[in-house]
Amino acid sequence: MKLLGVAIMVLVPIVALGHEARLHRGKPTEGEVASVQGDHLSLKTAAGSVPVTLTDETKVERESQQATRADLAPGTHVAVFGTKLPTGELVAREIVIEGGAHHGSKATP
């Protein structure tokens, strides 16, 4: 009975929190900004080039601080959280700039 109580206390918050939309971060696509054109970026990843679209709701962050789209210069290493469309396009919800601009870093799909 005690065990059941503990299980309920642990599981209920997990289920409740699990449905919070803000926690749907998913796995990021990491890579280097190859080019920027308006609301579109081209991201160079280990698996190839990924087109990224920014929307009005896209947030840009650097070290947990808000950054701007102007910070997304070519050569910047970023992790993009968002939704992949079947066309291959990635619609960004959040872009995290990883430690400023550098080249030749490891990139993952």
Binding site: E20, A21, G26, K84, P86
Partner: protein, 180 residues
């Protein structure tokens, strides 16, 4: 009149007795499949328990590629563990549920109104394994869009869902699906 009533009562008592003996000998298993009568009655009760105003609700979101894809990721994250990525319900958990979740691509689910689907996602279904998820309506409406999209799910979309949850899709999935 009294005699007929007495016979009916006797008959019902006899039925209850037979049922009791059967249950005591065989027990219940959640791995059993509900009979057609039970399924029919359960669906009727669920329908009756859904307020008319909810049934009439229409999805305010349009099925844009982004809305459907966001519903897809949400489904992969929370629903596929029981329903499978393709909505077939062919999962280890669902095999042990009584009643099991239906194949969401089938007519029985697809003919439900947008409001009924939203209500099921949000409030769950009592006495089944379907929890009431609560959550924001905007996100739930995207799930409704995705449930509507399930019969036309592509292999590429299944691949993207696997990226999210690591789940393989049952081998039976082959493109467009719509069972009567």
């Amino acid at each position: 009149m009294m005699r007929a009533l007495g016979l009916v009562v006797l008959f019902l008592i006899a039925c209850a007795g037979v049922l009791l003996v059967y249950v005591r000998q065989h027990g219940f298993s959640a791995r059993a499949k509900p009979s057609a009568v039970e399924t029919f009655l359960a669906r009727k009760v669920r329908s009756l328990a859904t307020p008319a105003g909810v049934k009439a609700m229409r999805n305010p979101l349009s099925p844009t590629p982004l809305n459907v894809a966001e519903g897809r990721d949400h489904f992969a994250d929370h629903c596929a563990i029981c329903h499978a990525n393709d909505g077939s319900g062919k999962t280890m958990i669902n095999e042990g549920l009584y009643p099991p979740a239906p194949d969401l691509r089938d007519r029985d689910t697809q003919q439900l109104s947008d409001g009924e689907l939203l209500s099921i996602i949000k409030n769950g279904i009592r006495f089944t394994g379907m929890p009431g998820w609560g959550g924001e309506d905007n996100e739930n409406w995207k799930l409704v869009l995705f449930v509507r999209h399930l019969p036309e799910l592509s292999d590429k979309e299944l691949e993207l869902m696997k990226e999210v949850n690591g789940l393989d899709t049952p081998a039976a999935h082959h493109g467009t699906h719509q069972k009567e």
